[in-house]
């Protein structure tokens, strides 16, 4: 189990009083304390770590959020904000002395404005819920994490989540206009609005991706876009990772930016094929799924050019979808990747580093060597256009050594990502998982300065503490204990 700061003795000693106080702030069904009902909140998408909190608060309005935060602040109680709890980095993992502040009951779509291409939604609306709400009118909310059925916009904002189509449409930060939030003191504020580039400091940019460290977000104004006329995919398989990498370079150099450009290595191809039977070439070392958008003629034109480019690299297999159904078939294996790996190994860690795309062959080679030396299998899925690499490390959770090795293997991969010029996390966030690796990417001074910015928002370090920043020698937490 990961190290968490010791529970605050004063809070633990006053447990009953604090729970009664919370219930007075949110009467009715707003506070959950019974262990059986608290249990679902003890972990998130990184389920290797579990810790039941003191209580769970489920407010329905911004005012209720403010009241809970003001109460917790007055009483020195730590707060862990939570959306759907799909974080893969343990960002929503509770602390024993914390109140989990769940936003899921704030799930109303407040307004859709097509003329201004925006929607105002509460933090607990799911990512896909926004798109579903506007899809009949041809619109969509662009960032599409694979977890979009479950994950919530408040979680997306705090993780700055990406998706398969962010090469063209950007990540969460690029698709927001405004936020309503509450400080740890319980003060409500708004940043941005319904317009672009509000003058003043970029509060919107600072809060996005802040992993619940700075404030609790209760409302989000997102941009919505009209969907393209259609999309279609192609598949190209190659003899070596290097060759697939060269094909990616040639595509970008041609001036075409596909909406999606996904790379799978041999183990990923095999896992997905065994699971989904999508017709992936099993003799390939590397495979690309490339998707373009536009009218049927535009798709033909772009896919024609892409096919020509891929042909220069002596592909083992090249399939251009002729229809939407064929396109879905190409995606079928990739979309089932998590399930596929789950079938080979019930337990796996999904890593998330970013590398300069040119370093891919080298990094995959090194990962292969590490896999052999740890004796753990790994499958690699890569957003090839933007360098975001997702190694899935398979292990056996019943064997403590296997889990420990998997964690160490993951840390080695992320360290390698930084060494080749990349970073620890492209879209899943630091959370608890990578917090102690932050010293690999940042200097002590850089970390101190970021901690001081957190302190500016949250002087007592009550908001989602023990995440993002290394636990060791953390002045914020020493102060709080």
């Amino acid at each position: 189990m990961i190290d968490l700061p010791a529970p605050k003795p004063d809070v633990m000693a006053r447990r009953d009083e604090i729970l009664a106080g919370l219930q007075a702030v949110l009467p009715g069904d707003g506070i959950i304390v019974e262990p059986a009902r608290v249990k679902p909140y003890e972990t998130d998408g990184l389920s290797a770590y579990r810790q039941p909190p003191l209580a769970v608060a489920l407010p329905r309005t911004t005012e209720e959020v403010a009241a809970i935060l003001a109460f917790c602040h007055r009483n020195g109680v730590r707060v862990v904000p939570r959306g759907a709890g799909t974080s893969l980095s343990g960002g929503a993992l509770p602390l024993a002395d914390s109140v989990v502040l769940g936003l899921m009951r704030m799930n109303r779509i407040l307004e859709v404005d097509y003329a201004n291409r925006l929607a105002v939604v509460e933090a607990g609306v799911t990512n896909l819920g926004i798109t579903n709400h506007v899809a009949a009118d041809g619109f969509f909310y662009a960032p599409d994490p694979s977890s979009q059925l479950a994950c919530m916009i408040g979680g997306n904002v705090n993780m700055n989540s990406g998706g398969a189509h962010c090469l063209k449409y950007g990540v969460t930060a690029n698709n927001l206009l405004g936020l309503k939030g509450v400080t740890i003191e319980g003060e409500v504020f708004e940043v941005g609005g319904r317009h672009l580039d509000a003058a003043g400091y970029d509060w919107l940019g600072l809060l996005t991706g802040s992993e619940g460290q700075l404030a609790v977000i209760t409302e989000v104004t997102v941009r919505i876009l009209h969907a393209a006329e259609g999309q279609r995919a192609m598949l190209a398989a190659f003899r070596a990772n290097e060759v697939a990498g060269q094909a990616v370079d040639a595509i970008i150099a041609s001036g075409i930016i596909p909406v999606a450009l996904e790379f799978m290595d041999r183990p990923a191809i095999h896992a997905c094929e065994a699971f989904a039977g999508a017709g992936y070439p099993l003799d390939a070392e590397a495979m690309l799924i490339i998707e373009v958008e536009g009218s049927t003629e535009e798709q033909d034109m772009l896919l024609g050019r892409l096919k020509e480019i891929c042909e220069r690299f002596d592909p083992i297999s090249l399939k251009v979808a002729e229809t939407a159904e064929q396109s879905l078939a190409i995606w079928k294996g990739r979309k089932g990747a998590f399930g596929a790996v789950g079938r080979i190994s019930p337990d796996y860690l999904c890593m998330d580093g970013t590398i300069p795309t040119g370093q891919l062959p080298f990094v995959l080679k090194r990962i292969g060597e590490m896999s052999a030396s740890y004796g753990l299998q790994v499958a690699n899925i890569f957003h090839a256009g933007d360098g975001n690499l997702h190694p899935l490390i398979m292990f056996d959770a019943n064997d403590p050594k296997s889990f420990h090795d998997a964690e160490q293997f993951g840390a080695d991969i992320l360290t390698l990502c930084v060494e080749v010029g990349g970073c620890l996390t492209g879209e899943h966030g630091v959370g608890v998982e990578k917090r102690d690796l932050m010293t690999v990417q940042f200097t002590p001074f850089e970390l101190d300065q970021m901690r001081a910015l957190k302190t500016a928002f949250d002087p007592e370090w009550l908001l989602n503490p023990a995440k993002v920043f290394p636990l060791k020698d953390n002045p914020g937490l020493r102060q709080a204990a």
Binding site: G170, Y201, E229, I252, G255, G358, Q449, L453
Partner: protein
């Protein structure tokens, strides 16, 4: 004229800032000073110029990444990108027509002011494409944020915090940008509309279509023209303009402006030339939700206006008086938007709020953040807010 320090490298910048911090002496931070007239005048005996930190330090066209030192002239970067068929995504303006002067803007100044052009409406602002930054804080300490990859959520995003902070939170020494291929072809439809409100409806119809409109401006005048741009491969430009033309006919007569004409038109819009600001005019930039743009023009009641970003970016020009400014502020506030006093004589800029006041919560956070980044208050003091 104040004394100018022009260190040759980041270590020199750091030393200059550390010395100023120790002495408690404010510094005016600039690249080549092309936006010196923007926002409030800075009271500082010394200017710290980044002009000697110049040059592209990394360019990987296949990785869509370019890094350059803060003092690098933007035209130099654009030329290097053009050689490989790429461009700065946000189409940033130079604004020589507004601020005068013949110096080129620098990358650091561009990022510090977060100025974006017409393509901002669909492709994002400068702040959306700053992937990495190196900077010196108000004590002279060097720090980095982000990196040289396109996707990065590691730690707090200080790239965004510094972009648009007008040099008040740190002296930017190097920037890494995401870049993209430039489109093969440009094409524009110009719709002659009866009034501005109809014009914005035409722009909304285009921006709410599947055709990827990459510029949507409204040129006022007796017969206002709504102009909508497509930038794509040649086949796509022809096809999409054809479809858009069908959709826009109901708003007014539609004319086609082909490649070269389209590029020239949008170069002008990017530079706010159709605004036609007089030499004596003050200039404002107001940002509101697009449908509120025409109302802002009417409420401000100033003689000259130009709308971009689908109607949401309102350029205004008129008499440089406190009364004009009061009307612009009121119009922006009523529309729930934001304003910038973009150009005005120095006494006016010094006496007026050049940006909207933020509420007490944000004002408090702003002070605390400035205390973290610049505890002695020496970086461009007073540039954004008085006191």
């Amino acid at each position: 004229m104040s004394e100018t320090l022009a260190p040759a490298d980041e270590a020199g910048v750091s030393a200059a800032v550390a010395a100023a911090a120790a002495a408690g002496e404010p510094l005016a931070i600039e690249g080549r000073g092309t936006k010196r007239g923007l926002l409030r005048p800075v009271q500082a005996a010394r200017t710290l110029s980044l002009r000697r930190l110049s040059g592209i330090t990394l360019y990987r066209p296949q990785e869509l990444i370019l890094s350059a030192l803060a003092g690098t002239p933007v035209p130099e970067i654009e030329a290097a990108l053009a050689e490989r068929g790429q461009q700065v995504i946000a189409e940033p303006p130079v604004l020589a027509a507004i601020f005068g002067g013949s110096e080129p803007p620098t990358l650091g100044g561009l990022v510090a002011t977060n100025l974006s052009g017409p393509r901002r409406i669909t492709a994002g602002a400068m702040r959306d494409h700053v992937m990495g930054i190196r900077a010196v804080n108000g004590l002279g300490e060097v720090f980095r944020s982000g990196g040289r990859v396109l996707k990065n959520v590691t730690g707090l995003d200080l790239c965004k915090l510094l972009t648009g902070a007008h040099g008040t939170l740190g002296v930017i020494t190097e920037v890494t940008l995401k870049v993209l291929p430039a489109a093969e072809r440009s094409g524009t439809l110009a719709v002659t509309v009866p009034d501005l409100a109809t014009g914005v409806r035409a722009l909304s119809a285009g921006l709410g279509s599947p055709y990827g409109v990459s510029g949507a401006a409204l040129l006022p005048g007796e017969a206002p023209r709504a102009v909508l741009r497509i930038e794509e491969f040649a086949e796509s430009v022809a096809y999409r303009l054809g479809r858009l033309r069908e959709a826009l006919g109901r708003f007014g007569d539609v004319a086609l402006i082909e490649d070269a004409g389209s590029r020239e038109l949008w170069r002008g819009i990017r530079e706010a030339e159709p605004l036609g600001a007089d030499a004596e005019d003050a200039v404002w930039r107001v940002s509101v939700e697009p449908t509120a743009g025409p109302g802002v023009v009417a409420a401000a009641g100033l003689p000259r206006a130009l709308l971009d970003w689908g109607g949401g970016l309102v350029w205004l020009a008129g008499p440089a008086t406190a009364e004009s400014h009061r009307r612009v502020m009121a119009a922006a506030r009523a529309a729930g938007g934001s304003f910038t006093l973009f150009r005005a004589p120095e006494p006016l800029r010094a006496a007026l709020p050049v940006l909207p006041e933020e509420g007490p919560v944000l004002a408090g956070l702003r002070d605390r953040i400035r205390t973290v980044m610049d505890p002695r208050g020496i970086l461009n003091p007073g540039r954004m807010y008085a006191g």
